[in-house]
Assembly symmetry: D2
């Protein structure tokens, strides 16, 4: 096979790409209007991990699974870890949840009531305990906190309490562990959110210490936000901890990453590469955080990791030397064309060939369809309660 696009030169970097999949993507999800079920949906954490392992087996891209506590509460995490490892995947980031208990209706780490704050802090301590058992590096904190009505809450007091609560949690994490603070523009709070933007997350984590980082969820920004700029900035400031990948047309739609705007995903990956986020010594974690409300979940996840891989490959193909020259020269159209040339390249054939070289199916999507796995789980997973976000 000829290699007009220079694919051979990028495989060593491409090999480093690993995308953590979220356990909850294999359960049911939906909107406030309806959560539709689907045949074959897992009834246990183990079944979710089994499904995730299929994604990894077919793509070679998804070696770890993120857990969500308490959605993925089990009695014995050491056993769960072995179970996962036997299936070829590791347990990854631990996600806390302080938004589904009645006590958290008006806040958790920011609550005016010290008792509620302590309860939320204790929950994070439990998550850290889980991390020790699972060998997880990252504690990811997404806070659903905020208010719905102007005047309802004291924004400043909440920010100060947030700082205090986070500091208490941060003290507890291990030397090799990190606290990663996610930000989100809005939802479920509709007037103010306590960590609404990267600036707030950055200011909070800088105050904590060196092992506190920012999580960038690609769906958590105001309309029109230039996300790759934030990627650049957080890498520059040394605080890009992880990505939650998904895509959106409107709000936090949680669609398959790359489905809404593939060029945006390309630009994000281009900036990751430019800033060293895919270097051998990079600590940036790449994760999915999506909702497969209407599409099949396992192929939805396969499609997602393939999209990230495909756009990473295209971004790696950017002729960086030529680009830099054009940028230096102020050649607006020339620089843009070098950039777009990489994006316009169809890397699918090269990726398929490369997959086969590595013992993976050329088309993971087709391989899944032909594997019979879906039919098997639809058959075997009858009865029980399908897992969802609770």
């Amino acid at each position: 096979m000829t290699d007009p696009s220079g694919f051979a030169a990028i495989t060593s970097q491409l090999e480093r790409l690993a995308i953590e999949v979220p356990s909850w993507a294999y359960g049911n999800s939906g909107t406030r209007f309806k959560v539709f079920g689907s045949a074959g949906t897992p009834r246990s954490v183990e079944e979710k991990i089994a499904d995730a392992a299929v994604v990894n087996r077919l793509t070679g891209l998804a070696p770890s699974v993120a857990l969500h506590i308490p959605w993925d509460l089990v009695d014995d995490y050491t056993a769960l870890r072995s179970y996962a490892e036997d299936l070829g995947v590791a347990l990854g980031t631990i996600n806390s949840n302080t938004f589904q208990d009645d006590d958290y209706k008006l806040g958790a780490l920011t609550h005016t009531d010290k008792v509620v704050r302590q309860k939320a802090i204790d929950h994070h301590f439990e998550c850290i305990d889980v991390m020790h058992a699972t060998g997880s590096r990252d504690l990811k904190v997404w806070l659903a906190e905020g208010s719905n009505y102007p005047g309802q809450a004291d924004l400043r007091g909440r920010q100060d309490r947030l700082a205090e609560s986070l500091a208490t949690i941060y003290e507890r994490i291990g030397e090799d562990q990190r606290l990663v603070l996610e930000y989100k523009f809005f939802e479920p709070a509709f007037y103010h959110t306590d960590v609404p933007d990267w600036g707030t997350s950055y200011a909070q984590v800088v105050a904590l210490g060196e092992r506190a980082m920012v999580c960038l969820d690609t769906g958590h920004h105001a309309p029109g936000t230039n996300i790759e700029f934030i990627v650049m900035q957080l890498l520059r400031l040394g605080r890009l901890g992880s990505f939650d990948f998904n895509s959106r047309f409107y709000a936090d739609d949680d669609l398959i990453v790359g489905a809404a705007d593939p060029f945006q995903l390309f630009r994000i990956m281009a900036e990751v590469i430019r800033g060293g986020g895919l270097d051998a010594d990079s600590d940036v974690a790449f994760m999915l955080d999506q909702c497969h409300n209407i599409e099949d979940k396992i192929p939805g996840q396969i499609r997602s990791v393939l999209n990230v891989q495909e756009m990473t490959a295209r971004a790696l193909l950017i002729d960086r030397d030529a680009l830099l020259v054009a940028q230096q020269d102020g050649d607006v159209l020339g620089a843009h064309e070098i950039y777009i040339d990489a994006f316009s390249t169809d890397v699918r054939p090269a990726l398929a060939a490369w997959r086969e070289e590595r013992g993976l199916p050329a088309s993971p999507m087709r391989a899944y369809a032909e594997s019979g796995y879906q039919q098997e789980i639809e058959e075997s997973r009858r009865g029980g309660t399908q897992l969802s976000w609770n």
Copy 2:
């Protein structure tokens, strides 16, 4: 009491203001992350109507209750109507629901499968049957239909099927009934929505006939949309059927109307008045459609109808003659100031006095707090299943 603002001159119009409340506002609601319950929440349609009747008793503003089928399915609507009338309220608009049955996962009136379409049409026929029993004038159709991924659906085919389905439903409504078609920018579908904007709703209802109208939900627009312009246009075109009032900072937040941007509500009511929507012969229906996710529901509804009343009063105070002169003269700041003067007027004392004249409490909010009703329902409504959106 002196009347510097000219309040006396507007009471005859203000008296015409009636706001329909939605039965579902009295049940629990939430986001996809969590539906919080609250003490005293109704367990039956009757309890919802009882709560709505309290809102009307204290404000004199909410003489009817909208129902949602099947959420408000009962065996005997004639009995329900009597029950409501005994409490001083009428049954109002009937809202159909074609988004919570598994068959509707990929569409209802637009579905590619004729069987599913017919099922959705039949549901509307049932709603029309209910309307005959309840004496309702309006069948309100909000369609949750759309798609999440580009390519998933044939936009054009769906639009054509929508036209056909609506025509079949329209044929069935009575001579004195109306079909009101709501539009919504997005959610629960995240790529395309089949009735996303007023233009689509308008084009569809014009094709149906004279008793087909548009419903404008104040939370269903793209960011930055000038809603009062649409109010003006629909009144001009003779197709403004009804309002679903609520407010928002981001998406379809469904907050208390007027809470996010009181000046916007003022502008909307000013345009309603300008276009004859509050005239004696107007058929425009004013309704609430909100979610009280974290605040108490009954006072949330009281606050809502009061907000509409307050902004309507301010809008009625606009010195229309002076405004027209300034507008004709191109006096930009002068016209703006006349408009703003009305908005800046504190009508609360005059409204309180006017309420008392009519045998209503000066402060409905305080009256509710002091009525003991909330304590009573929290006490009496123990056990059973609190109603929510299903």
Copy 3:
């Protein structure tokens, strides 16, 4: 050359693609902060047409040039027509301008003053006279009218006057001519715009008659608007007159079409094709409307028409039969993948080969760079006043 993607099958349709270029794209443009000049910028209408002819010569895609009155006012349009034809291009759409005369500060076709309205109407009559001389089919009306402050203007009165003014203009156009009404979300007016959305443009042109159509400028929508849906709807309603192509990240940025979101351009062209807009009997006009504020103008235009061509080619490659089956079957991911497959195809080599077959340069961008034209105009066009938007 093998043809794995089925390119051969689409060339007959691709051949029909013709994109009108705007004369003003060859002059200087900028923002309110600064208009930067550039060497070689035309000083006369003729020089603009000469530049446009180069774009057509190198791409075979731009056979006509839109004019803007009064920016392109000349004494003798018959002579201008001959001049253009000698260069291989036709004169196309005539664009009116009622936003740069001091009288139009507060409106033109909607102005409260009848004298100003008549002046604006008369300007359109002059444009129609020009059309007769140039042989142009379309009179394109973009109205910069609106208001900046709530209360400043009577929205309804303006809408009624707009209808009246347009009717007067419409009466004057010839049997084979069309009036095309553009809409725009905002700018230069910042509170309300008199034709802000497709619904308003549609309602206005329907009232005029069958030769009145809507112009869709791809940069004139609220954030998040699904533009291809509007394309579908206007084609369905028989009122899609023309496109003004450009792209944007924020507002009406007027960037090179396809530069900001190539997938969106693909979706738009897919819907054009689906709705018959590229059929042999289609009357849809494809135009550019862009600002080359910082990049070179002629290659900017070449890049633009190539982008439209490239995305049209990809959209033509959609396997429509397979797509329809997947859509009918409710195969969400399957349908999406068929759609995305076409988008992911690199059509550049096939397009280059096809161009050469037709006697065009394989790479129009490179051909322009090597042609020496830029150097020539930079040399020869010294002195005089570079043309801009006035």
Copy 4:
């Protein structure tokens, strides 16, 4: 006069409110489509200051005037300072301008060419020289820098060069001077902006030192951004240097502050007060930055400072003790109502009376109209060149 709203208690704080007006607001401004002139527009810096002095004389609110270099370049700033002081106003913030010289087409402080960067740095040195002559405290830096096309520029390289350039400038400012860095979402760059959000401005100024602060322009955010949250955060972090007040419906519309969303202005001022920004020892500077494109400039400025004053007064009326209790108690509606009560209060009569006590006209707008100043300048300022943004 009775004082039901507690106005007397807030006047000591209200007295501290001072709003700097921008010299350029008195010149002509417009959009990229047209800059309309108006009778009486200044032809010199002195005439701009004279107009600004009128605003201060009538309102007592605008004791200083911000200058823009080079728009306000004069030979002798000591003389200008005396001229201004004789008219009762001081010279305030100095604004640099690195966006209108041809060299800055592709950047200034971030430019790839060291020569251009040095030129831009030197311009800031000149501004600092002016500051020494005028006695100005603040050097305000708004950078129009960015790129229009993905790939055009190296985002990271530009950010690093920005840091370096700013550090060089920061070193030069005096002990009692501050560097204030403004951020802006977009425009005039349409793909990326080098300082697009408060997070970037914050990260840059923290790296500079303690006298580097953030400037918050109320029109420079993405749609839906909660601006008062940023106000809270910057005050909490000790980095809120100044405000550029204006209002908007869409983008950076630069409308009269408070005209588009008075409740938002109220919320911003409430957060300023909450965070100590109006305390006696506060260094926060309040400025206008607006465009009076179609309205008269001087009354436009009077209206603006009055709007800020009015909303500040309303915000000062918030019953903070009661609010805090309701917030602590989680009384959602109760807290919201306390907040809204203050907003709903009509403070205009109390403000008018207070003005008269202080020897100011009760209605500055009417006083201006009756002063004959407008007629006088329209008469006297004939000939010459009206000033604009260049």
